[in-house]
Structures are given as C-alpha cells and as structure tokens.
Amino acid sequence: MADQPWKQVEPTTAARPGTSRFAAYLKAIFAIVRKDVAAEARSKELVSAMLIFSLLVVLIFNFALELDRAARENVAAGVLWVTFIFAGTLGLNRTFAAEMDRGSFDGLLLAPIDRTAIYFGKMIGAALFMLLVEAIVMPVFSVLYGILLFKPMLLVVVLLGTAGYAGVGTLLASMAVHTRARDVMLPILLFPVTIPVVIAAVKASTGILLAAEWGDVAPWFNLLLVYDTIFIAVAFMVFDYLVEE
C-alpha cells in the first residue's frame, strides 16, 4: 500500500463493499447538485435574476407584439420558449462563471470522481434552476395572457425541452467560460446548436395548447426525445476533453 498512495482515494469512486460503482457515480452527481442548490439557496442571486429577467421578457413581448386575444393563442408557446431560453442562458453563464471566479472549479476537478459526474451534476443543477423559474413564470403567464398552461403533456414537453437545453448548454457553457468574451460567447455557441429543441418544443407546445390531435404533436415530441438522447450522449463522451488540464 505504501508505494501506491493513490490507491487510497479509490473507495470514493468505486467499490466500497455493498455499493456498486453505479451507486457511487449517482452519489457523486447528487453531491454536486446538492452543492449547487445549497449555494443558490444561500445567495439566491441566480434564480432571482433569471426570474426578473423572464418576467420582463414576457411583459416586453406583450408590448412589442401588441397581442390581441387570437394572436396571443398562436404565439403563446413561442413567447414562452423564447423567455425560458433567454433566462436559461443567463443561468448557464453563471453556473461555471461563479465556479471560475471563486477558483472552486479546480477543486471540483481534483475530487476523485469520474469527470462526467461533474457534467451530469452541473446539468441537473442548471435544469433545476430553469424549472424553478419556469414553475413561477408559467402561472404568471397564464394570468397575464389568459391562457391555461396547466396541461400534463405540456409540462412533460417543458421538462424535455429544459433537459435538452440544459444538457447542451452545460457542455457549451464549460467552454464559453474559458473564452475572452465569455458572456457573449455562450449564446453564439448555443443558439444555433439548440435550434432543434426550440423548434420541437414550440411546435409541440403550440399543438398541445391548441388541442391538436396527438398524431400532429407526436413527431415533435419524438424529436425532443431524440435530441435529448443524442446530445446528452455526445456531451457525456466529449466532456472529459473540455475539463482536462
């Protein structure tokens, strides 16, 4: 043992008797999520900024588009998603920037865990913050625009769209944070790549809100599933290379 000191850090990643490797991996992910949530619960700077920003966007759209009742029903899904995506970009920008500024990301990298666990932890954290903002914006939106948004399928679409957006966003945010103009860089990198999610989410939401037949909504819904699967898989495969120092 003495000539192999690195052996000592192994138990946290892998086999402690009775826990499988996968359970240890999940534990690592959960620890990172818990850390991000705890930090946010104390500072509240991220979610409150995202929230105020979202409400402003919703109000600005109302003036910019001069929505009457009929127009409102047709554009509601588009306005909603644009709001979520702008707010999401704000949040994603901060999740890595805050780590970098405090120098805590290096600490995270030193932790004896699989690097991809950091990706999933960060991604779940970002998705949680987006979902929290969405959970507050949607009722407000319902009241202001006079459209009932509480349909179970719509909530599933919001969940899938947010997961896909946070998945790719976390990957690209970990890159953008190292660039010179990091706040501007993220949307430039992220928007062209996430266009399929936005299209699919808007089309599926519109279909659900206008009570279209499931046959018309299903292709968009499937596209969301396909996008989430492919991009989270790609992110999982390449994330190691982004944090390799």
Binding site: M175, R180, P192, T194
Partner: protein, 235 residues
C-alpha cells in the same frame, strides 16, 4: 521547411486552375440553355458544387475533431480549422448564388424554406466555431474546444434538417426522390447538362483539396512563426 510550395502542390494548383477554366467553358458554352428558367439556371452548376464542398469541408472538420481528441496531434487541429475556413467560404457562395437564383425563380431573395434555413444555421454554427477559436489564447485548450464544437455542431445539422423538414420544402431536388412541392425546377437534365454538372462537381472537389493543402501549409508556417517567437522571447 521550404518556403516554396512542394512540386506536387504546384502541379495540383495548375491542374485545378485548368479544371476550373474548363468547367467555366462547359457551363457557358457547352451546356444548353434551360427551357423554363433560361440563363439563370446556369447558376446551378456552381451552386450545388459549392454546397457540396461546404458540406464536405464541415464533415472533414468533424473527422479531424474526432482524430484530434483521440490522438492529441496538433496536425488534426490545423486540418479542422483550415477546413472550416474553406467550408464557410463555399457555404457563403452557395447562399448568395442561391439568392441570385431565387430572385427570378421564386420572386424573392429569401424564403423560410427548410433547406435554406437549415443551411443558414449550419453556417452560423461555423461562424461560432471561428469566434470560439478567436476567443481562446491557450493553443491546447483552443484545439480541444474547437474539436468538441466541430463534433457537436455537425451532429446538430442532420437533426435541425429533420426538424424543419417536417414542414414542406419548395427547394428543387434533382437527385433522389422528387419533391412534389418544388418550385423553379425545370424538366429533367439533358445529358449535356449532366456532364457539365458532374464535371463542375469534380472540379470543385479538387479545388477544395487544393485549397486545403495551401491552407494547411499556411497553418504550419503560422505555427512555426509562433514557435520562433516563443524561442526569441525566452532567449
């Protein structure tokens, strides 16, 4: 490292210039005038090969990105970067030649057609690629990030295409299943048109590899200059 181009590259450059001239001659002198579209149809012989070269260039970037991540060899980073620059140039040419054609054929410079939209998104992905590279100082990190973005960006394209293709397209499809909604396509191509087209496609492909070779030499020189600079500074 010799400054003058290697002999093979010199020959290739001359051959490419010859091929392009012949292609030009074929397009304007050999290919017949198209019945419904008239002279403007001749854009097609450059428009489609440019689009092909754009796609090929980005595909090469994808492969170079994977190769870089697997081997860590800087050579692949230079291939990917060079290929993106060429691809963006040809993609822009495709876009503008398409607009020139669309104005008489569709009576508009731009329409939100699936094929047009996905192509433009593709272009934006690679503009972002170039901006990303410019924003990173550290060469190793720049290479890794660029490789990752080259992969993620290319994967997004077929999905974007599929996403928008759920709607209908008015862009003509000449090869593969015919597009019943297409507007502006004439009749089937005559043999002379097909010969011209395939010659042009071939010439453009050769042009791509010639440009890539030249661009790679430039990248190698730039790398060498960086090394010499670093040496001077430390001395």
């Amino acid at each position: 490292m010799s400054v003058s181009a290697p002999r093979n590259l010199q020959i290739l450059t001359v051959v490419t210039a010859g091929l392009m001239l012949i292609a030009l001659g074929l397009v304007f002198l050999y290919a017949p005038q198209e019945a419904t579209m008239g002279e403007v149809q001749r854009i097609f012989y450059f428009h489609v090969p440019s689009a092909w070269v754009g796609g090929l260039a980005f595909f090469v970037t994808l492969l170079a990105g994977i190769a870089y991540l697997r081997t860590g060899d800087d050579k692949w980073d230079r291939v990917g970067y060079s290929s993106v620059e060429i691809g963006v140039t040809f993609a822009l040419m495709t876009l503008f030649s398409g607009m020139l054609w669309g104005r008489p054929a569709w009576n508009t410079w731009w329409t939100w057609d699936p094929r047009l939209t996905t192509f433009t998104i593709l272009l934006l992905v690679y503009f972002a690629y170039l901006m990303l590279r410019q924003g990173i100082e550290d060469p190793g990190r720049r290479a890794r990030f660029a490789a990752v973005y080259g992969i993620v960006g290319f994967v997004s394209v077929p999905i974007t295409y599929f996403a928008i293709q759920l709607a209908r397209s008015i862009h003509p499809v000449l090869f593969g299943p015919n597009n019943p909604d297409a507007q502006g396509s004439g009749g089937p191509l005559t043999p002379a048109m097909l010969q011209t087209f395939f010659f042009s496609l071939f010439s453009f492909t050769v042009l791509y590899f010639t440009l890539l070779w030249h661009r790679l030499r430039l990248a190698n020189f730039a790398e060498r200059v960086e090394q010499l600079k670093a040496k001077m500074m430390s001395a």
